[in-house]
């Protein structure tokens, strides 16, 4: 079965339909809403598989189906669908992971009164994300991008009665909006320069040679190539959406939403959107590479931001106590990895890591959801512990996810994708700093994941909630198992010996057996680093597990200052509150003052002036003018009384008058030969 590109819209349309149905379903229709959402997702998954077949039949081609959307008078704004291996792989991943998360959600939220609303939002979210994937137009992509933002706002704030959730939703929305502004500007600039927003349009698209050549030839402020400038603006959007360095603050807070939402946002959809965006416009980002005169290459910025984010996220994750927050910062860090890979020129490695990361991070989030659900919404790892016994399946799958994320060699998918990235970083000829940041992050990742597993599952239960935890129903554990299997097996579609995924993404139909990781030195080094990370983690947390909830963290004992800084997330939130927030408040106060005193005062003054004039006028009126008017009015009234006598109010009279008038008119016309 293969899906023609003309019908690609069906993939996002099915969840959209389910969302519409969910919105119309009354609260009692739980089965209907969840069933429709899951069925739609499954349908989309099958369609995506069909699309993948189509795409793999000719990986080098960008199949497009464009159509006119808005007739703007001068030109026609066109939208379209795009089908290439990148889209297809992403669609399959999003629908598959989404499907599992949907199924998991029916268990996780089965007590929630707003169950149907939740599935409506979930479906909307999935529909927007899939629309983003299949878009062949930056405009359509942007529309879906914003829809993703809206849906994430709704989902993070799903429990809006919790003030923290409402605040987190607002924060996520506003923070990403800052990045989106950049994307919007970039899009407008792009449209202005090329007159099109279609990616591929038979040679006319913005990602094709003609347009790119034009873009790179122009320069703008500071000698920057236009393509670089546009690329950086677009990258702003990616920074916001993918939680990269300056705008990463919303992502950990987004943990306030229900855990399946976290899984969906962090694993499959929203954060992946940024990476996907850069991968999609990669030709645009990379076109300035050969340019010697430009002060800045777009990809260099990407790599730098990515490296900073990867390292910083991993460091902060070490000192977090909330199980979901650790995973959130881990996501930040991993996204940094992907950006790093994009920046150093290997978008294939980035997508590979995106795919594998989607599966094991979804696994980890759902596993944490399982833990949280079992432990009656206790998320603090200091208060958990000893769950290894009662929650066997969750423990095993979570451990598998942890190993995949840490990059335990050979068996796990995370290892292969991470190696691909490190290898690409090693081959980057601009700087080796990203490589070092990446290597440092490898150690830290292994360390904090070990810490997380040790604190959560080993030792003894440290609270009543943890003591009473028990394994969840199959509707929650089965998705975990499936994801765990994927987390292991998925790596093998892109090993150095068999780089099937890479070659398909690059547009080749055959597998070239050339080793992507030439020289095993780096691999050995990273294996050693992983071993160090896990070993030190186990030494600090696993061997002597924490016994009380209030006991100090081992690192805190060693270096309280560093730990405090890490736990406070380097104070980014405080920084933003002190700068941006303060500025905002000041501006608002200024506007308020202007409004209240300056404008209002002016208006009041004018009003007083008018009142005075009126008073003068009235005095003059009453005595001088009225006398004359009264006399006139009396005359008019007398005449009007005469006329009004004709207004009998009886309909017959009126009709009669009309009839007689008609007769007279006809007579005049006929006898007088016209008026």
């Amino acid at each position: 079965m293969s899906l023609p590109v003309q019908l690609l819209w069906l993939i996002p349309a099915l969840p959209l339909l389910a969302a519409g149905l969910g919105a119309l379903t009354p609260r009692s229709g739980r089965k209907l809403a969840s069933g429709a959402a899951i069925l739609a997702m499954a349908g989309s998954f099958l369609l995506s598989c069909g699309a993948l077949m189509t795409a793999l039949a000719d990986p080098a081609a960008h199949l497009v189906h464009n159509f006119a959307w808005l007739d703007l008078g001068e030109g026609v704004l066109r939208l379209g669908w795009l089908l290439d291996p990148l889209t297809a792989f992403m669609c399959v991943m999003v629908t598959f992971v989404g499907l599992l998360i949907f199924i998991f959600s029916t268990g996780y939220l089965h007590e929630d009164p707003n169950f149907t609303r939740f599935f409506c939002f979930l479906s909307l979210f999935a529909a927007a994300m899939l629309g983003l994937l299949v878009a062949n137009s930056l405009l359509l992509l942007f529309i879906c991008w914003e829809l993703v933002g809206l849906a994430s706002y709704l989902l993070i704030g799903f429990w809006f009665h919790k003030p923290s959730a409402a605040a987190a939703a607002k924060k996520a929305f506003i923070t990403t909006r800052i990045g989106d502004l950049g994307l919007l500007l970039g899009m407008l600039w792009l449209y202005d320069s090329t007159g099109s927003l279609l990616f591929y349009d038979g040679g006319q698209g913005v990602l094709e040679a003609t347009a790119l050549g034009g873009l790179v030839a122009q320069t703008t402020i500071g000698g920057l190539a236009v393509s670089t400038a546009i690329g950086l603006l677009i990258f702003c959007g990616a920074i916001g959406k993918s939680g990269q360095f300056p705008l990463h603050v919303w992502l950990p807070d987004a943990m306030e939403g229900p855990t399946p939402v976290s899984a969906l946002i962090h694993a499959a959809t929203m954060v992946a959107a940024g990476v996907f965006l850069i991968a999609r416009v990669y030709p645009l980002m990379a076109v300035d590479q050969g340019l010697a005169t430009t002060p800045l290459h777009a990809l260099t910025v990407v790599a730098t931001i990515g490296a900073i984010t990867a390292l910083m996220g991993a460091m902060i994750a070490v000192a977090q106590d909330d199980i979901k927050r650790v995973l959130a910062f881990s996501t930040v860090s991993q996204l940094g990895y992907m950006m790093l890979a994009l920046g150093v020129g290997s978008w294939v490695a980035a997508i590979f890591h995106l795919l594998t990361h989607a599966f094991f991070k979804a696994l980890l989030f759902l596993g944490s959801g399982s833990v949280i659900h079992a432990a009656h919404h206790e998320q603090d790892i200091r208060r958990l512990g000893g769950l290894r016994g009662p929650m066997r399946i969750t423990f095993v799958t979570f451990a598998l996810g942890m190993m995949a994320l840490s990059g335990v060699p050979f068996l796990f998918s995370g290892f292969w994708s991470k190696e691909a990235i490190l290898h690409a970083a090693q081959g980057w000829n601009v700087s080796h700093l990203p490589l070092y940041a990446g290597l440092a992050a490898v150690v830290l990742t292994a360390f904090y994941m070990t810490r997380l597993v040790a604190e959560t599952f080993f030792g003894s239960a440290r609270s009543d909630e943890a003591r009473h935890a028990h394994e969840n129903s199959p509707v929650m554990t089965v998705p975990l198992v499936i994801l765990a299997v994927c987390a292991i097996l998925l790596g093998f579609i892109g090993t150095p010996a068999f780089p099937w995924l890479q070659s398909r993404l690059m547009g080749q139909t055959e597998v070239h057996g050339h080793s992507l990781f030439e020289g095993g030195g780096l691999m050995v080094l990273s294996i050693v680093l992983v071993a160090i990370g896990i070993g030190s983690g186990w030494a600090l947390y696993g061997r002597r597990p924490r016994t009380t909830t209030s006991a100090l963290d081992p690192i805190e004992k060693i270096s309280p200052g560093l730990f405090g800084a890490l736990r406070a997330r380097f104070g980014f939130d405080e920084l933003y509150a002190a700068t941006v927030g303060r500025l905002n408040t000041a501006t608002a106060a200024l506007a308020d003052g202007l409004d209240r005193y300056v404008w209002d005062g002016a208006v009041r003054f004018l009003a007083a002036l008018g009142e005075f004039a009126g008073f003068v006028n009235k005095e003059a009126d009453e005595d001088v003018l009225n006398g004359g008017f009264d006399a006139t009015n009396d005359k008019i009234r007398g005449t009007a009384r005469l006329y009004s006598a004709a207004q009998t109010g009886g309909a017959h009279g009126y009709m009669r008058t009309v009839a007689i008038g008609f007769v007279l008119l006809v007579l005049i016309v006929m006898l007088g030969g016209g008026l």
Binding site: S644, Q647, T648, G649, G650, A651, H652, M655, A659
Partner: protein, 105 residues
Amino acid sequence: MILTPLHLCLILSSALFCIGLIGALTRSNAILVLLGIELMLNAANINFIAFWRYGPNPEAGTGVLFVVFAIGVAAAEAAVGLALVIAIYRHQRSIRLQDARLLKG
């Protein structure tokens, strides 16, 4: 003077029109007045059909279309008119047109 079929049709329509008019002018019952007006409307429709039928271009169908629209409008008019009559009746317990003189000047 030759009486063509068109003449006959026009005479029919003017007769019908005047019957409606006389009814509307003489009867005091609001319903009958409305019915008289309906008759006048129908007389106009007869004219349309007659001119379409005997006009220079019967293929165009314009007259027919006009009558279709007129019938639609007439139906709406009848509904609203009679609803008004009922409203008046409820208000002053009478449908004599002479009793409805609120607009007297």
